[in-house]
Amino acid sequence: MLEIIRTIPIEHYVIYSSILFAIGVFGVLVRRNAIVVLMCIELMLNAVNLLLAAFSTYLSDAQGQIMVFFIMVVAAAEAAVGLGILVMIYRNTKSTDIHLLDNLRN
C-alpha cells in the first residue's frame, strides 16, 4: 500500500500545498468580504492539513496525522468565534465589507 502511495513523489504534495496556501494568503490580502476572507483562512489551514497528512505517510510517523485532528478542532472553534463576531458586526453596520471598518484610524 505504502509503495503505491509513494509512486507520487513528496515534492508534488509540497508544491500543491504551497499553491493552495498561496491562494489562501492572496485571498486574505485582496478580498473585501469578511466571510470570503474567513474561507481563505480555512483554505490556508486545509493546505497545511493536506501537507501534514502527506508528510506523515511518507515518514511513516503518526504524529502528523494527530496534529491534523488538532488543527481541525481549533479551526472549528475559531470559525465559531469568527462567525459570531461577524454576526455582531452585521447587526451594527448591515455590511460585511472589511474596508468599511476603518473608524479606528485617525
Binding site: 490556508m44 501537507l51 458586526i89 471598518l101 479606528l104
Partner: protein, 467 residues
Amino acid sequence: MTALLILFFTALVTLFAGLSKSKTALQPIVLTGCALAIGSLAFDLYDYQGSLQRWADLSNMLRFDSFSLSFGLVAVISSFLIIALSGYAFRDLNQSLGDNYGLILFSLCGALCMLSFTNIVMLFLGIEILSIPLYVLAGSRRSQPKGNEAALKYFLMGAFATGILLFGITLVYGNTASFDLASISRSIENGVSSPIMLHVGIALIMIGLSFKVSAAPFHFWAPDVYTGSPSLVTSFMATVVKTAGFAAFFRLFSTAFASVESTWSFPLAIIAALTMTLANTTALFQSNFKRLMAYSSVAHAGYLLLAILAIDNAGAGNALMFYLLTYSIATICAFGVFILVSGQKRDNSIEAFNGLGKTNPFLAAVVSVSLLSLAGIPPLAGFFGKYFLFTVVFEKYPWLVTLAVINSAISIYYYFKIIAAAYFTKAETELENEKVVVSTGVRWAAIIGLVLMIMLTIMPGSVYTLM
C-alpha cells in the same frame, strides 16, 4: 502544572458563579484563584526539582522548569493586578461579568501552556487557547462599533498568523519527522534532507510569531486593536499576551533552532531594528493615550527581541524575564490610572491627565513612576531591565544596542508628554478640575504595583537570578 489546574478550575467556578444573581462574589473568587496560582508557582520555583519529578509524565508535552515557572509568575502576577483593577473597569457589565472573568482566566491558561511546551503541538494549542478568548474579549462591548472593529481585525490577523505559523511547523516537521523540540534539534544537527525547506519553515514560524508579539512589519494591527478594545483587555494584551509570546519565541528558538542560528539571527536583528525605530517615531505624533501605549508596546517588543538574538548567552532568559516583569507592572499601573481618569472625564486623549498632579497627587505619582520606568530613567526598575537586556546582546550586535539606546532616548519625549500634562498643564474646564474618585480595588492594585516596582528598583539582582 498545579497553577494551570488551579486557574482552569477557578475559571469553571467563575463561569457558573456568573449565573447567579449576585455578582459581588465573582472578583474575590478570581483574585483568590490567581493568588493561589502565584503561591503554587512560587513554591514550585523554590523546589523546582521536585516539581519536575512530580509532573515528569507530562515531559513529552509540557515541562515545568525554572524558565516556565518564572515566566508563569510574571504572567499570573500581571493578571492578578489586572483583575484587581477590573472592579472599576467592568462596573457597567452585569449579565456578562462571569463570562468576562472566565475568558480572562482561560486565556491565562493558554499563556501557561505557551510558557512550558516541549512539543510544538502544545505551542500551537497554547497560542489558540490564549487567542480565542481574547477575540471574544476584544469585542465584549457588543454595541460599540469600535470594539466590533477591533475584534474582527484581531480575529482575522490572529487566524492569518496561525495559518502562517502552521505552514512553517509543517515544513519543519517534514524535515525532522518530529514535533518534539529536543528531537527537532537533534535532527537538524545531524543534517536534514532539504535545508531550503527547513529554512523556509523557520522563516514562516518567525513571521507567525512576529505577528503574535506585534513586531514590525507585522505590527500594523496592534494600534487599531489596542485602541478599539476595552481598556482593561488592552492592558491584558499588552502584558500577559506579550509575556507568553516572547517566552514561547525564546523557548522555541533557543531549544529547537539554536544550531541553525546563523540563518535566522540576522533577519531577526533587522526586524528588531525596524520595530523599535518605526514604533518610537510614530508614537511621537499620537494624542490618544491608548494608541500611544500601543506604539509604546510595539517599541518594547523591539527591545525584547534582542534577548532572542542572544540565546547563546546564559543570561538572556533572565534578562527577558526581568524586562517583561518591569514592563508589565509599569504598563498595568499606567493603564489603571488611565481607566479611572478616562472613565470619569470621558476623554481618551492625553488631555484627560491635565491637572492630575493638583487634584489627585497619588494617581499622578503612580502614572509618573510607571512611565519613567517604561522610559528607562536610571534609578527605576525599567532602567535595570534595559541594562540587563542590552548587556547580554552587546557583544554580538553592538550596532543594534546603539540603535536601541537612541530609541529609548526618543521614547522619553512621548512619555514625558503625559507627565507634563499631569503636572504642568493647568486644568481649564470645570470637568478637568474635578477630583477623580479612586475606587478601593484600583487603589490597592496601584499600591501593590508601586511596591513591586520599588522592590525591583532596590534589589534587581535577586529577581534577576530567580530563574
